[in-house]
Subunit: 183 residues, 4 copies
DNA sequence: TATGAATGAGTCTTCATTCAT
DNA sequence: AATGAATGAAGACTCATTCAT
């Protein structure tokens, strides 16, 4: 009757995405285990949140791997990334938002690793003359996150069709990034 | 020694923007009044948050008025809006983020009013042939909020220079929205 | 309806002396206040225990003052001390025992202050040729505490009459078990 | 890999002497077994503590046997007892202190048995005219325990040299503090 | 009106104990 | 016989809110 740690994390992610203030009790119940068992697997709430972050990081990294970010046309690479990561947008949005509100302390090394890979993509695009260079790759990265968050929430609240999600983000972002002839 | 309700709100906004989980006690102390007095002015935490929302809404509306959203070139109107609202970006980002995480129930009527004005701007731009029409004005509005949030947090975390803030948002957003000749 | 902090401490002392593991809830109830109020007055259990120690220290110091430890015959001074401190023996025994079991960390400065005064008494007795010098004043102090503790517990458990308490301690400490020739 | 019950008790005694609030988990780990196994050997924490008491009682009784309490000069018998029991003073002090704080209910029959033997020694001394008779043998017994406890703690805290321990107790108990003329 | 004081409700956390392998 | 896993029970602590001055 061993509890699947990964499964618990998934349930916690799903619940917290819906209700960020869910108590440890609610999380435990959602995962079908007792509060004490939840604590056995994740010592304290902070540990659980950190584990959730790592889950999100892992999932996003997997999407990056699958998207082969550093291959081919940067624009196409970005589109592939959005397509691959789409299933975890909601979760990423939660983590992103949560981080804004609650941290401020030290940032998980994992996020920095992700940032570096996105930075690299944007820089590559700029060097190859595909992306405009008057906006820093750091800001482009932040903007990507912001749009992913906005899109995910918009879907959740029924303001955007799920099927349009990646397209909407990609079009807006690339339209801005893409070097226009007349510029 | 009558308590200045507006002043209390300002202090609360400033504190909560820095620490979203601040307790009523911390808020009261930041405002220089007692917890009981805070409760006398805002019956309950929810009431305080709602008042904060209204403060944010009012401030944003004032920026909209000053920007004369429905006059002249839509692109210029958007730039004016960003310039006028810049001082409250941080606060707006907090409210936006807070809303995402904690509400989901009914949305304040005020936000809907704001939304309508932004919607109108984007629609006008689309009708005048300035903004692309393959992205809905609703999504454009969400994207605007998302980029404002991302920008404000990026500034707070030192990833973006404050002086580049509005320019970065405007360029990214308009570059995407602006109808390119060759498209 | 202001809660008398001192009174709460007294009640807590009385209860804990009887039941060392009493919960904060039990202590609060014994003091006739709510758990939350108890926490308002003493932030956490540790703070309460520390306050109890200070109460004990204060009471013992008052007894020392009243006994005029550094006046007259050291033997008489010791007897006076025992007589004056007798009402708080039970409480002191609790604190002494509690300290043995739970601390080991840093010792309250107050206890060190008490120790110094007792040390001084024994040293004075040794210098005046009244007390034997082959046992260090430090050990004599420890022995005094040990006998006070033993006596207090013996009374509590009905193995020693309260009226014989100070006499029993004083006689044993001063004269030992051995039957003296000259007595 | 049969668990050595005696060995577990020794480890538990050693740990609890240092940290009276050690959890079953800590005890189990100190003994190198799992919590579940600890529970299989001692049904519940109380059972473990009772077993520890019995271990202490057994060890103290063995010391009494070795000291031949009822032979020869009572004073010498007492000195022999202290010498024989010295290695277990620390443990006895722990049990004594623990008993004061946590029990108070019914006392282990074993302790009563020990008490009787000590009582007998003191009574014999009184009858033989060696010990003073104005202090009851019950109190003398309590005082002996108290001094053993005080001495053991004093050694632990570095206030008394281990080598002086039995001598310090014996001298104080037998001779008291007062400087005797004939000494 | 403003506030120090008090508290009910709820959360996190720990621990001793049981269960299934 | 031994143990990893699970949990009910209990305690500490916090917070929003109310009350009496």
């Amino acid at each position: 009757m061993a509890v699947d740690r990964e499964q618990v994390l998934k349930e916690a992610a799903a619940l917290l995405t819906r209700k960020a203030t869910a108590s440890m009790d609610e999380i435990a119940r959602a995962a079908g285990i007792s509060r004490a068992t939840l604590h056995r697997h994740f010592a304290g709430r902070d540990a659980l949140v950190r584990a959730l972050e790592e889950l999100g990081i892992r999932q996003f990294e997997r999407a990056m791997d699958a998207a082969r970010l550093d291959e081919g046309d940067p624009e196409e690479a970005l589109r592939r990334l959005l397509a691959e990561a789409e299933p975890v947008f909601k979760f990423l949005a939660f983590l992103y938002t949560e981080n804004q509100l609650f941290e401020g302390e030290q940032v998980n090394e994992g996020w920095a690793r992700l940032d570096r890979r996105i930075h690299a993509l944007f820089r590559r695009g700029q060097e190859e003359g595909v992306f405009r260079i008057d906006l820093s790759h750091v800001w482009l990265t932040e903007a990507l996150y912001g749009l992913i968050g906005a899109g995910a929430w918009a879907v959740l609240e029924g303001r955007l069709a799920r099927r349009e999600l990646t397209h909407s983000i990609a079009e807006l972002l690339l339209g801005g990034i893409r070097r226009s002839m007349e510029k």
